[in-house]
Every structure is written in C-alpha cells, then in structure tokens.
C-alpha cells in the first residue's frame, strides 16, 4: 500500500505540477531572521505556567496555571478566578466580565463579583479544547475550539493525526444561543476582531493560514483566506490600533516534519512507539535532551550551534497589515530561549508575549523589527 500511495503521489507531482503543494515559503523581506525577540525579559517573575495575557483598563490579566491573575498598574496581584483545570485564552468583555477558556470544560465568564457562568457546548460539540476567545464590538463572543479529538495540551497529537475537526463558535453576551459558524477547521488557534470591528480574523495552525470574514450583528459572513501559506504554525492574533494585527507563530515548519506528515506508516509507528516529546515534530521548546531527533544542520560544530539550523522550536511574532501583509517581525532563532510564542499583545506601546518555552509573560520593545523595505 505504501508503495502504491507513493506512486500515486509521484504521479500527481508529475501530472499536476501547479497543484498547491504548500511548499514552505522562505522567510525573507520583513520575515528575515533576526534576534529581536531574544531581548525580551520576564515581566512578572512570580507568575509561571502562563498561557495568555490581555491588557485591561485596570491592569494586565494573566492566565497562570489554574488562575486568572490581575496585575494592577501599581504591581498589585489579585486572583480573579481559580479553576479546577488549567486556564488558557483570556478576553475582556466590555461589560467588565473576564472571559477565560478552561481546559476540558469550556468558556467561563467571570463577573466582577466572582459569579461564573459557563459555555460548555455548541451544536452538539463539547468545547473542551478552547484555544482562543474574542469579543465583538456588539458584545457577541467568539471562541475557537481546536479539535474535537484532543484537549488543547495534546495539540501535537492533533497535528500528527492530521485532524481538521475544530470550530469557531459564536454566542451572545450572556453565553446563550451558541452556534458553530465555521466547522472542520485545522486547529483554529486564534480569533480576533479588526480594530474597526468590521471583520473577524482567525488562524488555523495545521493549515498554516489566516482567514477573515465580514462581521455583522447576525454573525460572520463568508470566509476569505488572507494568508494561505505561512512558514510556521500560527497561534493567536491581537488587533493593533493602526488596523493590523500581531500574529504569533508558535513554531516554524521544517522540511522534515512536512515529510513525516506525508509518511503515514512511519508517522503512525512513531506515534505508537515514541514519547511525544521525542517525535519528529514541532515543539514549544527544544535542545533540552540529546534524545530529541537531530537534523543535519543542528549538529554542534566547532562549539557552535548554528542559528540557521532547522528549527525544532522557534520564537516568532510578526505584524500584519489590514491586507495580511507582514511589515515587521521579531524572532528568536535556534539556540534562543523565547520560543513557542502563543500570544502577543500591545500594552502602552510595548509588547507583551507569552512564550510557552518559558511559561512567563515577557515584555520588550516593538521597535526592533521594523520593516527593511
């Protein structure tokens, strides 16, 4: 069978040369590699296991472990909510509620007085794998459910099974009337509204793309792919005042992983026999064990690990304009620490990022990665 499927693939490559093969685009222009992200430093040393951060009028809301912590402008800490499971993406509702995605459960809306209401399902789908949440200007709430097969922490399994079973769900401000607006997505990982509120943008990690849909009070219109073939796996988005977005790629695609994704037999055997952290697969962090698969360019030579080695993990945030064109990027290359960025927001002109490799909120200047064009 393997022989047959590979022959078929080879024939397709010969007969349909122009067929989109999703070759990994090269990173040049505004995506040229740089080290700006390495200059970012932890903002709060005491908050660990962080998954998301949002800026509110009274300070920063941080999803740290099972807690949502409000860090006031004076540096005070206040635990807004504590859940029984790890807490992921956050958003602030205009009515001052905090929206928090809780692993294995659903979306929690926390009122200032501590009362919590839940959204746990929509259209027959249990929202156990929420990866992102956003609020429309009219108060409607949009959440992304990465997959119906795995919890968010097992994203690697979902990638290697090549699933496309995620949803975008819309509900009203009271978490009622929840409905699936986009289905069968390849791990939707970020949702955000444009600065003018006219369109809903979302990312799909395994399809390496960013899409948008016009927004009206009835919900989103037809989707349109804005970036079709990213060089990495996109995570969350956040709108910027100039009409664009900050986009985080939590890892870069490599030729080897792409190859493994086409090698069904090998991949299945790998998943069945090897621990996930040692798979040939992207990771939030790497270089911590010599049992990890090594690629040729990653060999240490003359005491040096080449920064251009094939990246098992990588740090990348980039700014896209309203048309989906990158105009700058900040990166942490092979050998750097600030890898696996899933979230990036602007706060008071500076950037806050959440690199999963460190599980902390890091801050730094946004000036670094201005476009060279």
């Amino acid at each position: 069978m393997a022989f047959y499927s590979h022959m078929l693939r080879n024939m397709r490559q010969i007969l349909f040369r122009d067929e989109d093969q999703h070759a990994i685009p090269s990173m040049d222009g505004p995506l040229s590699p740089n080290n700006y992200l390495d200059a970012f430093t932890p903002v709060f040393d005491d908050l660990t296991d962080v998954d998301d951060v949002v800026a509110g009028p009274d300070g920063l809301y941080v999803a740290s472990g099972h807690d949502v912590v409000l860090v006031g402008k004076d540096g005070s800490r206040a635990t807004i909510a504590r859940f029984e499971a790890p807490c992921g993406a956050l958003a602030l509702h205009p009515d001052y509620r905090v929206l928090a995605c809780v692993a294995g459960r659903g979306l929690a809306a926390v009122r200032a007085d501590g009362e919590v209401i839940w959204l746990t399902g929509a259209g027959g789908v249990a929202l156990t794998c929420l990866t992102a949440v956003a609020v429309a200007p009219d108060g409607a709430i949009v959440v992304a459910n990465g997959s119906i097969r795995h919890p968010a922490a097992d994203w690697l399994w979902d990638l290697m099974e090549k699933n496309a079973s995620g949803q975008i769900v819309v509900c009203n401000p009271g978490l009622g009337d929840a409905r699936i607006v986009f289905d069968r997505l390849a791990w939707p990982h970020g949702v955000a509204f444009s600065h003018d509120g006219a369109s809903l943008w979302f990312t799909e990690s395994w399809a390496h793309r960013v899409s948008r849909a016009p927004w009206s009070p009835d919900g989103p219109g037809a989707r349109e792919i804005v970036i079709g073939n990213l060089p990495g796996y996109p995570a969350r988005l956040s709108a910027t005042a100039e009409g664009g977005f900050w986009l985080a790629l939590f890892a870069l695609r490599t030729h080897l992983v792409e190859l493994v994704l086409t090698e069904d037999g090998f991949r299945k055997e790998m998943m069945a026999t090897i621990a996930p952290e040692l798979w040939i697969a992207p990771q939030y962090a790497s270089g911590r064990s010599y049992l990890e698969p090594l690629q040729g360019g990653g060999m240490r030579k003359l005491g040096i690990l080449k920064p251009w080695a094939p990246p098992r993990s990588y740090g990348f945030i980039g700014h896209i304009d309203g048309h989906g064109e990158f105009d700058r990027s900040l990166q942490s290359r092979v050998g750097g620490q600030n890898h696996g960025v899933v979230s990036v927001v602007e706060s008071d002109g500076d950037l806050l990022i959440v690199p999963k490799a460190r599980g902390q909120v890091l801050g730094g200047q946004r000036q670094g990665g201005e476009s060279r064009q």
């Binding site: 030729h255 190859l259 026999t273 010599y290 698969p293 090594l294 040729g296 360019g297 240490r300 005491g303």
Partner: protein, 726 residues
Amino acid sequence: MSVVTSPTPPRSSSSDTLKALRYRFSAKLFLSELLAKNWMEPIVPFTLMLALLGYFAATVPGYLSVDNLQQMLNLFAEIGLVSIAMGFVMISGGIDLSVGAIFAVTNLAALIMFKIFGWPVPVAAVCTLLLGAGLGAVNGWLVGYLKARPFLTTLVTLIILRAVFDMVSGRYATDFATSDVESPVWDFLGAGRILGVPTNAVALLLVIVIGHIYLSRSRWGWHITAVGSSRKAARHAGIRVERVLFGAYVLSGVLCALAGLFYAARQNSAGSDTGQGWEMQALTAVVLGGISLAGGRGTVFRACLGAIIVFLLINGFVRLGLEGYLTLSALGLVLLVAVGVDVKWAKNRGKAIQKIYVNPTWLKLPPTPSIARGSDSPFAENDRLSHAEPIGLGQVEGPEDVILDRQDRLYTGTREGWILRFSGPKFEHREIFARIGGRPLGMAFDREENLIVCSGGMGVYGVRPDGEVFKVTDETNRTWGKLNDDSRLRLADDLDIAPDGKIYFSEATIRYEMHSWDMDGIEGRGNGRMICFDPATGQTRTIIKNQRFPNGVCVTHDGQSVLYCSTWLCKVFRYWIAGPRKGQVETFTDNLPGYADNINRASDGGYWLALAGIRSPAYDLAMRNPDFRLRMVKEIPRDEWLYPGLNNGCIVKLDAHGKPVESLWDPSGALHPAVTSMREHRGWLYIGGLENNRIGRVRLEGADPDWTGQDSYWGKPSDQNGRGEN
C-alpha cells in the same frame, strides 16, 4: 589470511529476517554501479547499432551471411579509419574538416606512385603514409604552433587539397585504367583476406586496439585528452600543448592516408567524388558515437561505433531499395533522434546515478540499555566530562583522534589535513608537526615511534619523528566479481599495530567520502571493511568485508586479537589474529546505547570506548524504515535530514572481557559533543571530537599515573630491543 563474511545484524522474528533479506540486496545498487562505469557512456549509440543490425538482419535477405559481412567490412574499413582520425582530433579539442580531402589526395598519390611511377608497393605505401603525415603536419603546425582556429584552418586545407585532387585526378584518370602494373601485394591490400577477414578490416581492428591502448593507457593519449578537456589546465600541468595538438593532426593525417592506401588498392581508380563529403560523415559518426564536440571526452571505440551506425544506415537503406534522397532524409532523422537522446543521456547520466546511488537498508537495533541518571546502569548519565580541562581551545579544528608520545606531547589530526603537536606543561605550545593532507583520523605509534595515521580520502600514511611524511598504503586487493574497482582506500578510519608490526585498520565505507559519512549512516549498509597491512611483505589485504561503518580499532593487551567497532550497529567485534581461534570474529560488546567510535587501551587492562552519539528513538525508527530514509534523502535538503544524535559526549569504559563498567558524560555537549576518541596517558584521559574546536582532558581517579600507551604496546624504553636502529 581468509576473508571473513560479516556477522549478521540482530534479528528478532521471521518478518524481520525477511525484511533484512529484502533490503540486503539491491538491484538499484548494481545498476548505479553499472551506470557509473565509463564504458556505459555510449550505451545509447551501442543500443542503436544493435537495433539497426537486428532490423536489417530481419528485413534484408542474407544480411548476416559470411559473404555479406565480409563485403560490408571491406566497404566499411576506410570510413572507419577516417572516423577514428576525426575522433582523435576532436578529443584533442579541435576539428579536422580536411580528413576527406587528405583521404582523397593520399588515395590519388598511392595510385600515381604505384600505377604510373611503378614504385614497389612497400615504398608507395610508406610514401603515402608520409604524405598523409605531412598534410596532417601542415594542419597541426597551423593549429598548434600558429594558434589558428581549427575549423577555419582545416576548412581551408580541405578546399586547397580538394582543388589539387580535382586538378591532378582529371589528368591521370585514363592512365589508371590503362596502366598494366600488377602486384600480388597490392591485390592483397585491396582484396585479400586474413582468416576470412578483409585486409583493410584487419588493419582497422589493429588501429582500434592500438589506438584504444594509446589513448586510454599511454601518457601521450592522456595528454591528448587533457588538452581537449582544458587547454589552460593542461598547460599549467606542464603538458606541451602545441606539440600534443601537432601530434593529433599528424596522427589524423596518417590514419586518413592509411584509409586512402587501402581504398586505392581496392578501387584501382580515383573517381572525382572520392572522399567527397566524408568529413561530414566522419563528423556525424564521431558525434553520434558520443565524442564531445567540446573535446576531452571520447574513445576510439566510440568513434568507430558511430561510424558503424552511419555506415549501416546508408548501406541498409540502399539495400532496402530506398531512393537516394529518402536515404539521406531517413539518415538525418535517425541521427537527429539518436543525438537528441544521447545529449540528454550524457547530461543526465550523472543525475540518474545520483538518484539511485543511495540505497538505505533495514537495520533494527535491540532496545537501548538504560542511561537514566542515578541508575545503577554502567551507562548512567553523569557530568564527569562537563568540567574537562580545555587544550588548544580555538586552535584546533576537528581533532578526531588524539595520541601522546613518550615525551608527553599531544598529537592530533585536524580537518585541514595537518597533524598538530601540543607540548609544554599545559600544552600551551602548538605547532604543525606534519601536513599529510586528506582528513587525518585514527593514529598510532609504531615500534620505531613513527606516527601512523589513517587519512580519509588518501589511505594510511606515516610521519617519522622528524616530521617527514611517508606513504604506508593506499590500496588493497580488489574484490573479485565486483563491478566497482574497490581497491583504492576511500575512508581509512582508525588503525592499530599488532606486536608483529602488522597494521590493522578499518575503512569505514567504500561508497562514500569523508564529507558524506552521514550518507553512509542513512544507508546503514555493510559498506566498510577491515584491512591488514603487512610491513614484512608490503602487502595490503582485506580481511573482513561488509561491515557497517567499522570505526575504532584496538589490538588487545595480550596482542592476540583486534577489537573493532561497528558504529551503526552500536557494537564492538573481536577478530582473533593469533591463538587457536585465529581468523574468527566474535562479538566483544553488544547493545551499546550509542554509536561506537574509537576504542583504545586503558591502564587497568580494560578499554576506553568513545560514543560519538547516543541513539535517539526517532533515528532508530528511521533505521527500521529504509523507504522513509530514501524519500528523505531524495526530497529534502541535507541540512534537514534526520541525523544520529551527536550533540552530546559520552565515553564508556569496558573491562578486559568487553563488559561495560562505567561511563563519563557531557550530556549537553557544551564542551565535548560527538566524542570520537580518547587516550589514557599518565593518569589523564585526553578527549578528541570530530567536529570540535578543542581537546579536553580529565583526571582519572585511581588510574596508574605512570601508564602510557607506548609502554603498553612496545614496552618501557629501557627494555626495548632494537630501538634506535633506524
């Protein structure tokens, strides 16, 4: 010494056995070696020739009869000779358009000398050849010494000679017919047979054989090819380009004259169209045979092959009764297709070989032993190498092997092809001890304190104590029945010297070079071998074939056996060189957690073993999936290939019986990634690494502070016999 076949890799089930068998033999491997042979280059014209023969044999009645074949050979010989003449000039990078004209003129001259002047045949023959040489010399002088363009020059001589021929032949045409000069020798030249083969065809055969030997085996022939390949490079290499070119044109003239002589003897007349258009026929033949128009590529056989095809086409179409113009257009069509295919073939042959050269095989390793930190496994991870003292940090590039002499000086081979020597109490003094070239790898001192070095890409070399380099050996016996000549040493890896002075060394792979050792790993095939050099006889013999990357070599303390590591099998083997089990191979250490590299003696009777890398689960899985590896090397760039895990350092201590007892680690590889060698010396362990920029050393607690490798191998200086004789 008998050749031992390889010990089979570990197998666990019948399906594994099947897989191992299936991937052990590869038709592609054979094909890639076949295609790489030089004689496979003209495969397209050769096939065409066979096809034509077959076609005409089937359609023309009596085509393969002896009578017909004799006749055809008779007709073919002259054009064959002229084509070879053209071939020689083209290989030298020029072109000789005057071949047809020289042929015609010498033909005429032979007839005049014999028929009109009545000279004896031998005199006429020699004079004809001399005339041909003279005409060729004019071309050669103009092209070689006056640097005229060959195309224009020979075009001009073509026109002049043709005019001369027309003038003279018209005057004598009737005289030939009326001449009554007869000679049996002349008739023998024209119509004789030797063992049934026409005289002129025998001459052609002789020319082919001698010409081939001359072109491919003689200095002069090589010079012609060299000049044709690159005139400038040939000049820089000291070849007298003018003389070589001159010689090529003279040779062409002589061959044309030979053809002319036979033609004269056969026809006994000179028609006005003698040799007309032969330059184009010869040119077509030569190009069709696969001799490059750019020069430097081609053989005598190929020129002849092309000529046969052209001849067969013309002859066959005539015999089929095709009209003249149809014959010509059919000829043109066939040539167009053949040349087109041949151009594509010549261009893509290398690529085709490249595409099928790598042939991964199936390799299943047993479950890896525990390396867990804090466990009681001898391989338990620790940090004992993480504080190694640096030596020559930043002053050395790739110290694959390290060794110390009796004066405590430290030697290492680097990627520049040098042997560096560090001396002083802290090894702070660095000097270049010798420049061998290649990639110096394993090293050992012999009894006379010569440093014997395996140099990847060159062979085994030695360095005398004064720094003078000498060759030990660079080839072994060729394997019988193997298509590829595997006698040259490609990647001599490590060596050791037995008490009787025999040098045992490993050749890691015979299919790849030093810079592509990783390809051999991806192939995982038994491409390596163990070789022995006997200084007493000067002979080098392969002793064990088909090993999977044989790497480190060490003669045991008792001198009875040789240990060698198989890197991809993660094993150490023992080969007995003395005692009752002499000639046998057995496993010494099995199931290592990583890739065994060099192995050396330890002071306590055991052995130090470097692990260049630790097995990673993903790579192990890939080794069980040869098709995956094949597609990997085909589809993605080399930097992205999955490699064995080499970014860590580990040295294992084996006891005298091969049982692992302890290990020293640099888990992060910050100081010593890919440890390829280590050498114990006076209580310290010195560490080398293939891709490192430092040598390291760690103190060995409890080790004999006076022990040195020299004493262990050759005894203490005082009780050594015969020392200082040389």
